[in-house]
């Protein structure tokens, strides 16, 4: 076994005990990247030299007997939608190719203060719009479990990197499921915090009332560790909430006897893969064995979540992406007649088709004559969806659902019909609309060895509870602990 295959908490422990050095760990990490990233294509930028220097600094601290910060030596990969000072940040788009942020996002500063080592930026669907990472302007990322399949999206690069042991931990972002769905498709742990739990300062905005940054990790312990570091109030983000950050690691370890679990019936619909249903049923039995009480629940407005999301998110996106005009940074068209045509050509040449589709949808929904029928209507339905959750959380501590209706699908399978692609987020989207936290953890594998994810949902600021439920399930299930094979696919004369 090589050091990159450890979890973050195992690595931290071995560094503390002086059994291995941070430098040795970093070497194994980069060896793995060199070995597999040409197949997986998780990374857009790799900061090798800087990372090795920082690893040496950690080792110096160890040698001097200094107290180590909580994530000392932990390699972290960052989704390319989060601003990293001095390192290119593209958001997976041509329109920001070459853009170098002059400041760090708050989460980056917090990770660095905690001793974490940022090793690079990861691939993603352009401006976080997508569920497969096929919308990246720089090519797709491939699922380490089956290189012919998608890793999910939009945080596909981050998730594939963790699954392939190219990094210990990654940061992703989640607006409609973009941390949880790839976590499910790649067998990793992915958590979307309560809206306002983690600062959005330095996060390039897609939909400001839905976006959240969160960790993608190999196990629940690592997730709790990272959450403790990145969470908390930030003066630079007026939507971040001034609530104390609990010791997530400590509360994980308590049991779940008498935990009241609701299973919303509207999530077990036609179109859900029978293997996903089977894995969920098996998982629920484990929760029962651990003393939790499980009952059927109802979220009656579930079926309205998708259109509500796609109206609100696209409307907010059309406003947030209006800033990309070629004037101060990023791509600028070379040929145009005047200022207006410069804007048009810059944006039309710089944005990909999914981004343009969503900007068009959002602009239409907000335009005069249609605002009430679409955007305002969607905001009212959002209230109804949120109230559904408020009602169930007065009765239950958590809800459990599948994360994704199917395991990882094949590349190109859903690209031609946007609506089909949108349906892959059907279980994750309502959570963003209500602003509540949710975690996806692996609960089994399909017959073709593809991971299946289970989603645990809590009420606002109940990350402790969902982490505790996830931890107890992880420690007590009989799911085989295995790693993806990352084998290249033999193309039997198929088109590349």
């Amino acid at each position: 076994m090589t050091l990159n295959q450890l979890t973050a908490h195992e690595a931290i422990n071995l560094i503390k005990k002086k059994r291995i050095t941070a430098y040795e760990i970093m070497q194994d990490i980069f060896n793995q990247i060199d070995k597999v990233d040409n197949l997986i294509k998780a990374f857009l930028v790799i900061n090798r030299e800087e990372a090795l220097i920082q690893a040496k600094e950690i080792d110096k601290k160890v040698k001097n007997g200094e107290k180590l910060p909580p994530l000392a030596g932990v390699a972290v990969a960052i989704k390319d939608i989060i601003a990293t000072r001095g390192t290119e940040t593209t958001c997976g788009s041509k329109i920001l190719k070459g853009f170098i942020p002059p400041y760090n996002a708050t989460v980056i500063n917090r990770l660095r203060e905690a001793g974490a080592i940022i090793i690079g930026k990861t691939n993603m669907d352009e401006f976080a719009m997508g569920s497969s990472t096929e919308n990246s302007a720089f090519g797709p990322t491939y699922n380490p479990w089956d290189l012919e399949r998608v890793p999910g999206g939009s945080s596909g690069g981050s998730t594939a990197a963790v699954a392939a042991d190219e990094t210990f931990v990654a940061l992703g972002t989640d607006t409609g499921g973009s941390i949880r769905q790839p976590a499910s498709l790649c067998g990793m742990v992915g958590l979307k915090p309560t809206y306002g739990r983690v600062s959005r300062y330095g996060l390039v905005a897609y939909a400001s009332s839905l976006d959240q940054i969160g960790p993608i990790t190999k196990d629940v312990t690592d997730c709790a560790l990272v959450m403790k570091v990145i969470s908390g109030h930030d003066n630079m983000d007026s939507t971040s909430v001034n609530l104390e950050v609990p010791d997530y690691l400590k509360s994980c370890q308590e049991g779940i006897k008498d935990l009241k679990i609701g299973v919303p019936k509207e999530y077990f619909i036609e179109g859900i893969d029978p293997e996903v249903k089977g894995a969920l049923d098996k998982a629920l039995k484990i929760f029962e064995k651990l003393g939790a009480k499980i009952e059927e629940a109802s979220l009656p407005h579930t079926e309205y979540s998708l259109p509500t999301y796609y109206l609100i998110a696209t409307a907010e996106a059309s406003s947030n992406l209006a800033r990309y005009d070629g004037v101060q940074y990023g791509y600028r068209a070379e040929e145009y007649e005047d200022l207006s045509s410069m804007y048009q050509k810059t944006r039309s040449e710089g944005f990909g088709s999914e981004v343009k589709r969503r900007i068009m949808l959002g602009t239409y929904a907000l335009s005069s004559g249609y605002y009430d029928a679409y955007y305002l209507k969607a905001q009212k339905v959002r209230t109804l969806i949120k109230e559904d959750f408020d009602k169930v959380f007065s009765k239950y501590d958590i809800l459990i659902t599948p994360t994704s209706p199917t395991p990882a699908f094949k590349l190109n399978e859903k690209v031609s019909d946007p609506l089909t692609m949108y349906l892959s987020d059907i279980f994750t989207i309502p959570i963003n609309l209500a602003g509540i936290p949710a975690i996806s953890i692996n609960c089994g594998y399909s017959k073709s060895n593809l991971p299946i994810g289970l989603q645990i949902i809590g009420k606002h600021f109940s990350e402790e509870t969902i982490l505790r439920a996830a931890f107890n399930f992880e420690q007590n299930n009989s799911v085989e602990k295995k790693k993806p094979s990352i084998k290249p696919v033999k193309h039997k004369g198929a088109k590349k």
């Binding site: 306002g196 009332s209 259109p307 509500t308 004037v327 145009y336 009212k380 959002r382 209230t383």
Partner: protein
């Protein structure tokens, strides 16, 4: 065949608002895709939201303001560093008038 919700002319108008331009093929494709999507959205009309308040912000928090104090900001060269169209501290753009 579903009734057209948005016409090609409306697509052209929305594109103008969004400062985007499309060729004929793209306009046809967008018109068709947007129509399917908007048709799917019709289901929201099944809900009676007459007496429902819209949600713009999910957490019930007051509007927070910082003190109006001047703090160090970014140096000008850094702000200008991401564009190659720069002159004497300004960003250069095509003539407006």
């Amino acid at each position: 065949m579903t009734e057209k919700i948005i016409t090609k002319k409306e697509v052209e108008y929305v594109a103008k608002l969004a400062k985007l331009e499309f060729n004929e093929r793209e306009k046809e494709e967008f018109t068709s895709q947007l129509n399917s999507i908007l048709d799917y959205f019709k289901k929201l009309n099944k809900l009676d939201t007459e007496r429902v308040e819209p949600t713009a912000y999910v957490i019930s928090m007051p509007n927070l303001l910082n003190e109006d104090e001047v703090k160090p900001s970014l140096p000008q060269e850094e702000v200008l560093s991401n564009s190659k169209y720069v002159k004497k501290g300004y960003f250069k753009v095509p003539k407006i008038m």
